[in-house]
Symmetry: D2
């Protein structure tokens, strides 16, 4: 496949600016680390205050950063002056969310004027090891800002 072509020449700046206003990402310590056409990475270090009853990072947080990565992946291919809302997503939690840090990579599977379909994974990193712990399939909607 040819790489998808951005409709917004300033998509990187616009996504960074939007992410900066996404308060939850700051609250949990997530950072936007890579923005390419149709592909966005968000990184999150492990934090005790975000864990569930067995000490793993909670599904809410892991699926949450992946949803946001998918949304910004969709935004990278959307026209200027738009933002993205999640219509729906489905996640499979493949393995316990244990590790020093987590990287959520969201990708556009099929861009669309109104609806984009995105997919992505979260990788957990521990020492030298990396492991897929979560996978998502999501539908995103482009809306005027």
């Amino acid at each position: 496949m040819q790489p998808p072509k951005p409709l917004n020449p300033n998509f990187k700046e616009d996504i960074s600016a939007s992410f900066a206003t996404f308060v939850l990402m700051r609250t949990i310590g997530a950072a936007l680390v890579r923005v390419e056409p149709g592909e966005v990475d968000i990184v999150l270090p492990f934090r005790d205050d975000l864990t569930q009853q067995l000490g793993y990072m909670a599904a809410a947080i892991i699926s949450g950063i992946l949803d946001v990565a998918c949304g910004y992946a969709a935004m990278s291919l959307s026209p200027p002056g738009t933002t993205i809302l999640t219509v729906e997503f489905k996640v499979n939690l493949l393995a316990p969310a244990l590790g020093e840090r987590f990287v959520a990579r969201g990708c556009v599977i099929r861009p669309g004027r109104n609806l984009s379909v995105c997919g992505g994974d979260v990788l957990a990193f521990k020492a030298k090891e990396e492991k897929i712990i979560t996978t998502m399939l999501a539908t995103m909607m482009t809306v005027k800002e």
Copy 2:
């Protein structure tokens, strides 16, 4: 349908004790407010530090409390000495997560020894008004604690 019968006579206490160790719930200010056989409610007041780029509560948080409500609904019908892990879930975000507080209600659709299928909704409350803002369909796995 007849109401489902709990296998664990202490399910209320065990769920409360488990919820108390679910650190993320405390971090975001969520409370377990109702535990019945096959049905659990979690309430969350609106908080600015949990919002997304448009000022609504982030999908991570809304779907997160609903996932937890579904998980504990499954646990209410599971044997003593077990806990619940989420295998997967799918959420539809129906309306902006705006309101003074949010109530996630998780229900068991089909209990099972290993896998339980659960569904649930999040209601947003604002003044006298209430509104369904999110709906979920999820698969939960019972594991020995």
Copy 3:
């Protein structure tokens, strides 16, 4: 909740006419048996030529009639001159699809001008017994015919 109000006074006739052109439904022997605002039932008798490797009705068929019931439920609340396409759906297969006949009931959870969110179940009937065997959560799109 108040019952949803149809925008198309002829929704019953239009849905019946559309269903009559849905060739697969005729091929598998499915019938449209109930059309109300926001709710549609499709019935399918058991047939050996639609089974999977263990002799149950195949997931394709059971989820297929439920998808169609959900789609027409959305159409019952859509404006005249429109039809429905499925954006996505998720099904949980709760129990083996065994029985003399199956009834798929699709319901609109949240109607929308462009997107409607629907849910539904398939019941299996055997002698006097009935059982939920499948549940779905789906996103439907209204398009001009």
Copy 4:
């Protein structure tokens, strides 16, 4: 990633034998065309009697062959003497199912003793052109035959 290792040395024969008893696949004219460890392809020629109200192949059929491809992908990594049941799946329908033939490719994302997570796509072929029309994320369960 290293390629997954089959636990059943006769997985190809066993999957072919199981597919031969999957009556619906014969009914609709689907063929098993490729079985590798963790990856299975099913091909289906276009047929008028499997279409929906706009003349496209019905979602039931397209998602059905993909579900079966995912299930046999899981079976390719399962122990001898087992078969696969679908726990749940989610599909996004990306484009109208038009074409001369359709190829469903199911892949194992994470194999498991009891549960395997699979993903896959359906490609539509028309003249020289190919196009992704559907994508799936599914949970499969290994059961003793």
